[in-house]
Symmetry: C2
Subunit: 212 residues, 2 copies
């Protein structure tokens, strides 16, 4: 997991190092990864509010000043950690690109439940959702990432005047189903076969995205 590039945060030491013919990973890149891994675990376990830069530094075995050096504020560490945790979900726009537009509803629903059905990718997503629902700063970071990296990219491929609202209402159907199935665990939805859910939701997502 720590091989996923943390998308343009921090002073970017890794990129500079790699430009000179991919030398072995520098010590600073290792430190940065270690901090990010610790941050992810702290935010997952404690939620945004109860996590501190000091706690992250302690878990990573570094001085708090080093956390600030690489990432900035607690909000910025959270953004880097979310981007990493959210990695698999950020591929959603690709599900749109990979085929004709009239099959996009099914591809997107299938992609979405693929991420949520896998416990390894579900756990960090749940942690993000919990932080975003209970803390306004965390919600703002989550909103920025979801809006710029998922919703707008999906909307950009629709070529319709109200594409962003369409993408959001489609996302709402998927997000709401995830809430009721994985968080609140209402039956029979919580135990339903994912294929049955995908079959029900695909036309709804399709309708939101491309319907008249």
């Amino acid at each position: 997991m720590s091989d996923v590039p943390p998308a343009g945060t921090g002073p970017g030491t890794g990129a500079t190092a790699r430009r000179r013919g991919r030398p072995p990973r520098t010590e600073s890149a290792d430190t940065r990864d270690r901090i990010l891994t610790a941050a992810r675990e702290e935010f997952s376990e404690r939620g945004y509010e109860k996590t501190s830069v000091r706690g992250i530094a302690k878990a990573a075995g570094v001085d708090p000043a080093l956390v600030h050096h690489y990432f900035g504020t607690k909000e910025q560490v959270f953004e880097a950690a979310i981007t990493l945790s959210f990695g698999p979900a950020l591929d959603a726009p690709k599900a749109i690109e990979e085929g004709p537009l009239d099959g996009v509803g099914e591809r997107l629903a299938r992609f979405f439940f693929g991420v949520w059905e896998n416990p390894a990718t579900r756990a960090p997503l749940l942690a993000i959702v919990r932080s975003a629902v209970t803390n306004d700063t965390a919600a703002a970071v989550f909103r920025r990432i979801v809006a710029t990296q998922v919703l707008r990219r999906i909307a950009g491929q629709l070529d319709l005047p109200d594409a962003e609202l369409r993408a959001e209402l489609a996302a709402a159907q998927l997000v709401g189903t995830a809430m009721l199935r994985y968080v609140i665990k209402v039956e029979p939805l919580a135990s339903a076969d994912p294929e049955q859910i995908i079959a029900r939701l695909a036309p709804v997502v399709q309708g939101h995205l491309t319907g008249s």
Copy 2:
């Protein structure tokens, strides 16, 4: 707000008293209401985990033993408080009864956003959602109330084999839209005219509930 009957919790002193020609409210009914109001405020402000029976008792100016006497455990106080906060939302099944089945999607969407658009009814709902998302016991209480008092009653009017799953997928579209609009506040959805959202969601809700 404290006039809403707290739906079958506690020893039911009020009902017994009222049977004898509506005498003035007894002291015990007043105490019970005061505890319930305090509980609602404590749970709203602190969330399920950080709220204690001791804290509720202190806010209500009573002994903790009295909280246990009227409501039982912390989980049971939470259930009574949720039932009270959730009061307006529990009328959702009525929105189904009040007209022909082919207009149910619009009636339900309109009812749902009516509750969420009103700040007085939105605040307690948000507090419940926050507790349910972050705490498993609170989620279980929320699930029990939503399942028995909303979803099953809606499903019961559909007379279709998979009625409960239908009701849940319809609810998922509405709940997900509320999450993105009122909690995460993604634009343009967060600022969209409620009538526009209702117009988009009514056919989706209708399709889930009565579609083939």
